[in-house]
């Protein structure tokens, strides 16, 4: 089909079997269960929503303070507060099912078995387009992060999950490792459909007056623009190392940021902390990507994915 000048670029991308209307998702833990942003954005303009991490049982989360701002970033130690699987299905899914975009559940367990039960149950219900397996939460003792730093454990977990769910499986990786491509490779070998990265960097802040950590949990996860260079580097490394799609996350606050990740090889991106700063940023990023493509004479977002020029 000939490209007509005025035609809008095609923004669709595939993550395994999962078709997204555009490459912009919202990141787990930063967009609630979608409903919280309904007043600010037309959810159906998003490529997808990844909901707050879900565990088998409800979790109260960590003691406050849970949040502290840092230079161009923030530390959080929410501790995976969530309503648990049952209430998620009963209370959150009805709204999400009709919100007009793809919904992915982010899951987290203490053991392979717990992950498997979560995956199985969530695969039985209507309205979920995929699962994001969090093996990288730095804020809970048994937060899956053991799986996220050990390629062998990661492999075994994903291989087990693969047998229990027909849904697209995306594995969310931790940046707090020496070589992230090793973990990516392991979970790709285990049969997941995509990897998403990065989760937060482990950080800390101290109140010099009280001489106490600023977070009750002592350490927390660093997110926001501060981490973008690290995230982009890891996405570039992983995109070269694996054959499955990569979803880029980390400090994305504008269409320009998102495009950097696409050029580095990400098939889609997730917007996290920036939602707090500007609740409308996710849809502004969709529009900005479209405009960039038009200005560059590209009919299709897939043309720019991984198109970084290295001389």
């Amino acid at each position: 089909m000939a490209i007509i000048d005025e035609q809008l670029p095609d923004l669709q991308v595939n993550i395994g079997n999962l078709l997204l209307k555009n490459p912009v998702l919202t990141a787990s833990g930063t967009f609630g269960y979608g409903r919280e942003y309904q007043a600010y954005v037309n959810l159906s303009n998003l490529g997808g929503i990844v909901v707050k991490g879900i565990s088998l049982e409800p979790r109260p989360g960590n003691l406050p303070p849970r949040i502290v701002e840092t230079a161009c970033g923030m530390l959080n130690a929410i501790g995976l507060e969530n309503v648990g699987l049952k209430r998620f299905i009963a209370e959150k899914m009805p709204f999400l099912r009709d919100c007009g975009t793809q919904v992915l559940a982010n899951i987290l367990g203490d053991s392979v078995e717990e992950y498997c039960i979560l995956a199985e149950r969530l695969s039985e219900i209507d309205g979920l387009a995929g699962l994001e397996v969090n093996i990288s939460c730095p804020n809970v003792k048994m937060g899956g992060v053991a799986f996220g730093t050990n390629p062998q454990m990661a492999y075994e977990l994903i291989a087990a999950l693969r047998g229990r769910s027909h849904l697209p499986l995306i594995v969310k990786l931790s940046p707090n490792v020496t070589d992230i491509t090793k973990i990516a490779q392991a979970v790709a070998d285990a049969g997941c459909d995509a990897v998403s990265l990065i989760n937060t960097l482990l950080g800390m802040a101290i109140d010099i007056r009280s001489r106490r950590p600023r977070l009750a949990n002592i350490v927390g996860g660093l997110s926001g623009p501060a981490i973008k260079p690290v995230a982009l580097r890891m996405v570039w490394q992983v995109a070269k190392a694996v054959k499955i799609p990569v979803i880029g996350i980390g400090g994305i606050s504008s269409a320009e940021d998102a495009i950097e990740f696409l050029l580095a090889g990400a098939t889609a991106i997730q917007v996290g902390t920036a939602n707090f700063v500007n609740p409308q940023v996710s849809v502004e990023i969709v529009a900005g990507i479209s405009q960039y493509l038009q200005e560059s004479g590209e009919a299709n977002v897939r043309n720019i994915i991984g198109s970084l020029v290295i001389s």
Binding site: E36, Y40, P60, L63, N76, E81, F276, P279
Partner: protein
């Protein structure tokens, strides 16, 4: 709950470190309730990154909102350098405000910057119940601080009680003591709505519990989103394992629901 690009139309430096900002923001002004807050973006730079929460002080005129801001850190320092005419990125009105119910014995208690949202509440209450007498207890460190915070409460209907820590204005001592002295011995219930520093609210909650007065308190915390998405603004609930969230379940809570520490 909406995002609105408002405009700063007035900027008054009340004391060395207290600032009054008035914004044109008709959509937010139209639906704001006393006790609700807005999240203000400080600038276009990524540092400071997060919006800052501020209570709505009042809605003068019908299309504007006014904030009263104390300079305590980086973000508020930058606000102090804003100039009239500039655009401001607001999200609001957010949270659950104070209850306004049938005419009943009702009083307000404010301490320090916690006085800010009470002016809006006093005005709304007196607008709804023009015949009500509304005792308002205001406390602060000194006359210097209190003068500006108490400005605006000189309305017909308000009975103003004042205390300062240093005795430079009104009674010498805590505002909760003044409240107990004035009303603690009187028969009949009194409903209390309060905002102020945590220790004040805690002792007020204890007082009200002892006297069996219903009491609402407005709490503060660091917030990232202000809209219930980040779960960062947790406050321990009483008789429950979990947490409430100040930005959506509050900032105004029944004092009985808070696990005071």
């Amino acid at each position: 709950m909406l995002r609105e690009i408002g405009r700063l139309i007035r900027r008054d430096l009340l004391t060395e470190d207290i600032l009054r900002l008035t914004f044109i923001a008709p959509k937010i002004a139209a639906v704001a309730d006393p006790g609700q807050f807005v999240m203000l973006r400080i600038g276009k730079s990524h540092d400071p990154l997060l919006r800052r929460p501020f209570s709505i002080h009042q809605t003068p005129g019908d299309n504007s909102i006014q904030l009263l801001i104390k300079v305590v850190g980086k973000g508020t320092q930058m606000l102090a350098e804003w100039s009239v005419g500039q655009d401001v990125d607001l999200v609001g009105p957010l949270g659950k405000g104070f209850r306004i119910e049938g005419p009943e014995p009702f009083c307000l208690v404010g301490g320090g910057m916690g006085i800010v949202p009470l002016l809006f509440l006093a005005k709304k209450v007196l607008q709804k119940f023009p015949l009500l007498r509304l005792p308002v207890f205001l406390g602060a460190r000194s006359a210097n601080e209190l003068n500006f915070l108490a400005e605006g409460f000189n309305e017909p209907g308000v009975d103003l009680y004042i205390a300062t820590d240093d005795g430079s204005l009104g009674s010498h001592g805590l505002i909760t003591e003044l409240l107990a002295n004035q009303f603690g011995a009187k028969p009949g219930g009194l409903r209390v709505a309060a905002c102020g520093p945590y220790p004040m609210l805690k002792s007020l909650a204890a007082l009200c519990r002892r006297l069996d007065w219903p009491c609402e308190v407005s709490l503060e915390t660091v917030m990232a989103c202000g809209i219930g998405a980040c779960l960062g603004c947790a406050v321990p609930k009483i008789n429950q394992k979990g947490y409430a969230h100040i930005c959506t379940d509050g900032p105004v809570f029944d004092a009985e629901d808070v696990r005071w520490r």
